[in-house]
Symmetry: C2
Subunit: 237 residues, 2 copies
């Protein structure tokens, strides 16, 4: 007898592909993702995300990857679509603007509260750490954190906000393994997502030592996507 | 057989006295509080709170009110004292500065993390609503909230941050019962604290219709303290 059925699905994810509804991707890549062995696909991005482009991408994924869990990472409440398996709600822990900690969320709840199915929601406590990334600029993230300061945000998110997931996000660049290690060491129950610059077996293996789940995004939009998919899966499985 | 022993003590509080370590109070008042029937005393304030004045007040309360639960509401990490029954940690939901949502907390954790006994910690999600109060000015609180907007913060605090307590704080003035009612109606599991301007039976009875716990503070520093204590206890018990 196992208790696996009581544990939420994301607890078992080791490898997740993040696709940006505002970017172009071919059917060939979508089919390869479906066959790759990845555990789930996130639909999300920072800029130009709409209901239309999210729904279009969702439809293509449902057609080509009917078995894969598909989750929307919600960045704009008017882009929320039906028919995904769940919703990731980002909270930016190291923002300088409370809008990205609670303000936007409170506004969305005021507008859509009664229609939200909270049983499908996964709250992610983000540490946004690449100062050049669009998400860092949008949210005014304080990216200049020591490993200890990052871990303290993680501890606060866990102890004060009971956050189930901490997401160490270097979107667009490969991060500091020592910082990720310190966050993972500090976390007690939280599940650790890592995203940023994973485009090889070595980088995936390095970060997979500390993170529970690796998120592969930008590298799938390069000519090298096939190799990236193959090598990063191999590194975590 | 009851399950009361598994429920945290604050779930049963109906009436709490908040004493400010930076303000003077006579032994007569402290003794009357001990005998009043109040459920607990919070030690806390916004300005000039130090380890010394908190510890001095704690000693006097321990002497005159040995049976009463004494909790420190932590506003400055260097004023934290030993020997209280628990610690309330305020999170200001409607602040304009993330320092009061997570920044100060992360800093305190970075400094004191290993020494914190989390089993003694109660996280309070504050809505700071009197623009003239010191706490509103210190934290840059956005006090101009409709009942619906306030309730949306409360819902976000509960759904995203799993906050066990929502604290509707009008410190120094009597608040809007309709706003409190809307927050209480929206909350699903969270326990509701109300504080602000409670100095009579009528005001206590009005807010006790919506709040689970009333916090009585400033009115105990007036000439009328005896009546306030008597009448507010009577209104909730």
């Amino acid at each position: 007898m196992t208790t696996a059925h009581t544990s939420p699905p994301w607890r078992h994810w080791r490898h997740v592909v993040k696709l940006d509804p505002a970017r172009q991707i071919t059917d060939e890549v979508v089919q390869a993702i479906a066959a790759s062995g990845t555990d789930a696909v996130f639909l999300g991005g920072t800029q130009d995300i709409t209901y239309e482009n999210t729904n279009t991408l969702l439809g293509r994924l449902r057609r080509h990857a009917p078995q894969l869990p598909l989750w929307q990472e919600v960045s704009a409440s008017d882009a929320v679509v039906d028919g995904v398996d769940g919703y990731c709600i980002p909270i930016v822990l190291n923002t300088t603007d409370p809008h990205w900690l609670i303000g936007a969320h409170a506004q969305a709840i005021e507008k859509f509260g009664p229609w939200i199915d909270w049983s499908k929601v996964l709250v992610e406590g983000y540490l946004v750490l690449n100062p050049d990334a669009a998400v860092a600029q949008l949210t005014g993230a304080n990216t200049a954190l020591t490993p200890q300061a990052a871990a303290s945000y993680a501890a606060a998110a866990e102890a004060l906000f009971s956050m189930p997931v901490l997401y160490v996000e270097y979107s667009g660049t490969f991060g500091d393994p020592a910082l990720l290690a310190e966050v993972a060491r500090t976390a007690r129950r939280a599940h650790i997502f890592y995203g940023g610059g994973i485009d090889s077996y070595e980088k995936a293996a390095t970060m997979a030592q500390h993170a529970d789940t690796l998120i592969i995004g930008n590298a799938l939009y390069t000519a090298n996507w096939q190799q990236v998919l193959h090598d990063t899966i191999r590194a975590v499985k």
